[in-house]
């Protein structure tokens, strides 16, 4: 169970922080350009953060008590594979879900 204080702290803190990031330049900095090295790093925040977060969830799923699980590896491969081939987020999610459900029946 998530602690109520923690939850609201995250909702409000994240709301304020995200607004600050969005307002930073539009509201405060004006149209002065960012240093090159900074924008170069910022371009890779999403593609670095997402795999960093998701890889441990794939390798050691909490639902199986941290044991590597063939079913979840299969769903991962299906999602990533279809995502890379089609560049279509929704299709990739559906493939992962189908692999998860179908694999669940086959692997028992």
């Amino acid at each position: 169970m998530i602690d109520r204080g923690d939850l609201w702290l995250v909702i409000l803190g994240l709301g304020l922080g995200s607004f600050a990031l969005r307002f930073l330049f539009l509201g405060l900095v004006g149209d002065r350009p960012l240093p090159e090295w900074l924008t170069r790093h910022l371009r890779y925040t999403a593609v670095a953060m997402m795999p960093a977060l998701v890889a441990p969830l794939v390798a050691w799923p909490a639902a199986t008590g941290g044991q590597t699980d063939p079913l979840r590896l299969l769903a991962t491969a299906a999602t990533l594979g279809v995502g890379l081939l089609t560049k279509n987020v929704i299709l990739a999610i559906l493939s992962g879900a189908v692999a998860m459900v179908a694999g669940g029946y086959l692997l028992g």
Binding site: M1, F23, T45, A48, P51, A52, L53, M100
Partner: protein, 231 residues
């Protein structure tokens, strides 16, 4: 001479295709949040106050893992750092607006409103400030209010879905699906691979600090690869 309202409708049409992304993701967030024990009101507040899909999923996952609040905030804000880039990129177009309109635009500045507007403003730099603001508000309309609405729908659905439904893996699947199309260049692939390897090697670190360190290493690797490829 186009009127502000026709720019509003142009924006609306530019934003409309993103509804195909907003609807399933908003619904999924609503379902997962209620599965995690959030009330309908808490779930809706999350989407209205934060209004950033990926960061909401990240913080929800970490809250469930009982990660300390400061680490949750740092990780989710790191996911949202790209918003600062959007803010910088949109400033030459909307920076002349009065403060309250800039604040309003900043609140609605998300991946999809940015994508729709940046494309249009680059194609039509001759648009006036008022026309650009009208376009932006038009693009926001089929993106942001539906984000709240589908979160709410998901929250109601989530209350009806039994808790043990293999939903634990819905979130990783959603992330994995978002990663693949984001791997646009070799540098993006390097960033993702380094982050993946580092997060697995650093998993022993407490408080999910391994995730933050791995993401930082991934960013540095991506930036460095890009710099070398330009030479």
């Amino acid at each position: 001479m186009p009127t502000p309202s026709s720019n509003y409708w142009q924006g609306f049409q530019a934003g409309l295709p993103f509804l195909l992304v907003i609807a399933p993701f908003g619904t999924l967030f609503g379902v997962l949040a209620t599965e995690a024990g959030l009330t309908v009101f808490e779930t809706l507040s999350f989407s209205v106050v934060v209004i950033a899909g990926a960061a909401q999923f990240v913080s929800l996952q970490m809250l469930q893992d009982h990660v300390p609040t400061l680490i949750v905030l740092a990780s989710a804000l790191a996911v949202n750092l790209r918003m600062a880039m959007y803010s910088a990129a949109i400033t030459p177009h909307l920076g002349g607006l009065p403060l309250w309109k800039r604040a309003l635009s900043a609140y609605f500045l998300v991946d999809q409103t940015y994508a729709a507007s940046a494309l249009e403003f680059e194609k039509h730099p001759e648009k006036t400030l008022a026309q650009k603001f009208a376009f932006f508000m038009g693009a926001m309309t089929p993106i942001c209010p539906p984000w709240y609405a589908f979160t709410l729908l998901g929250a109601w659905l989530g209350e009806a879905v039994p808790a043990d439904f293999g939903l634990d893996f819905a979130l990783p699947i959603a992330f994995l699906a978002m990663i693949a199309p984001a791997l646009r260049t070799g540098a993006h692939v390097v960033a993702a691979l380094v982050a993946t390897l580092a997060t697995l090697l650093l998993a022993f670190l407490p408080y999910n600090l391994g995730v933050l360190c791995a993401a930082t290493l991934g960013m540095a690797a991506g930036a460095e690869t890009e710099r070398r490829m330009q030479k």
